[in-house]
């Protein structure tokens, strides 16, 4: 189930990036299409970074669970 949460997060990030259009200046050129669409590259790098960080968070939670499990085992 946690993996589906990861999917949800990634979709949310994509949704946010694609919907940055309110930031666009007046006129018909939107923010992401300015300066040769360079912000699309920034977006791609951010998605990769965010995805890897979210996966690290998931691994962190797994380790915390194991730590609790080991602690309980010792106290018994």
């Amino acid at each position: 189930m946690k993996f589906f949460k990861l999917v949800q997060f990634l979709t949310l990030i994509l949704f946010l990036i694609v919907n940055l259009q309110p930031l666009q200046a007046q006129g018909n050129r939107d923010f992401m299409r300015e300066t040769g669409k360079i912000y699309v590259v920034t977006g791609v790098i951010l998605i990769i970074f965010a995805g890897i960080v979210l996966y690290l968070v998931r691994l962190d939670k797994k380790l915390t669970n194991i730590e609790h499990q080991l602690k309980e085992g010792k106290n018994e």
């Binding site: 300066t35 699309v40 990769i48 499990q69 085992g73």
Partner: protein, 348 residues
């Protein structure tokens, strides 16, 4: 360890070089983009990343090209700004093949910017009432181009700076293939000699592969939104990739649905072999059978020599190695967590 350091160094290099190296000067658009034969055409050329005012204006040459032998040279070339060039053409009375309309390429040769080309820049229509013109298709062939060698990435219309995504989106798929390959090797190892280590490693590598797959698909959708117009256009490449990722997602559902871990591990290992053997057709064979928006055009929705030049290779290959090593690192951590989970469970 050395390979972890290597992965970080390669990825930093890929991000820095991938973002800082400039694009080659290119032609964004021209106005007007259509003309009649026999007419005098005053055209404005809008460049991208160009420095038209540098160098001697008299050295700038412009052609409207029909094919490798036939072209019309531009006259009265004026630099309006660094990104705008004004030029006039005297168009010949008829088209070379006598047809009704055709597309001409625009070539600009600049002493410091070098050569830039806009394919199908001008639509030319035959004007039957045109009075005879002095111009001829073969008078001024394209020759003596300014060759400028520099360290830069190719310029492509529509794609512009997003050509840099090659260093971040594409290595996701290389990393995915590597992770799934290692995973299936461990699955085969598990089937020939069952031991927990092989199974845990197979799980760790499959999960990391799936992570790269999701990242590849998401980054691809963002890129597609700005290059193809829509994030999801039901392109064959996108559909088949989604199917491949679902096949691998089912691997985890299959494992989780067994109460006895050993039975689950055995079946998952068998399933993994099937999943891997479906991966190659789904990602590399089926998309080639249909028209696709993905480069490079129909018949090869993967990678063509036109999409990668030697400058790009200097960043592209290190980036692939960097991401693969990072994946191995992540998978290794995932495996160790599975192992200590096992140890903790045994202790209880």
């Amino acid at each position: 360890m050395w390979w972890k350091t290597t992965s970080v160094i390669l990825l930093i290099y890929a991000i820095v070089a991938g973002l800082l190296v400039p694009l080659k000067p290119g032609i964004d658009r021209v106005s007007p983009d259509s003309a009649l034969t026999g007419s005098r055409l005053d055209m404005q050329i809008h460049g991208y990343n160009t420095w038209y005012s540098r160098g001697n204006t008299a050295d700038i040459r412009v052609w409207l090209q029909y094919d490798s032998l036939r072209a019309v040279a531009g006259t009265d070339i004026r630099v309006i700004s660094d990104t705008t060039l004004a030029v006039s053409f005297q168009l010949p009375t008829t088209l070379p093949d006598g047809g009704e309309s055709d597309m001409l390429n625009l070539i600009v040769s600049h002493p410091t910017d070098g050569v830039s080309l806009l394919p199908s820049a001008l639509e030319i229509e035959a004007d039957t009432s045109a009075s005879s013109s002095a111009a001829n298709w073969t008078d001024n062939p394209v020759e003596k181009l300014h060759v400028v060698r520099d360290f830069s990435y190719p310029y492509r219309n529509v794609i512009y700076e997003t050509i840099r995504n090659t260093y971040f989106h594409v290595p996701m798929w290389f990393a995915l293939m590597f992770m799934f390959l290692v995973s299936v090797v461990y699955s085969i190892k598990y089937l020939t000699r069952p031991d927990e280590t092989s199974d845990q490693k197979a799980v760790a590598f499959t999960e990391t592969g799936l992570l790269f797959g999701l990242l590849g698909l998401t980054t691809g959708m963002l890129w597609a939104h700005y290059a193809w117009g829509k994030a999801w256009s039901n392109d064959i490449k996108q559909l088949m990739t989604a199917v491949a990722l679902l096949v691998y997602a089912a691997y985890f559902i299959l494992r989780a649905s067994f109460d006895e871990p050993e039975k689950g591990a055995r079946l998952a290992a068998v399933y993994n072999i099937f999943a891997f053997s479906s991966l190659v057709p789904l990602l590399y064979i089926v998309p080639r059978l249909f028209a696709s928006l993905h480069p490079g055009a129909t018949g090869n929705p993967a990678f063509g020599s036109q999409d990668l030049d030697n400058t790009m290779r200097l960043v592209f290959y290190p980036s692939i190695i960097g991401f693969i090593l990072l994946g191995v690192w992540i998978a290794n951590i995932r495996y160790r967590i599975l192992r200590i989970q096992q140890l903790a469970d045994d202790q209880d």
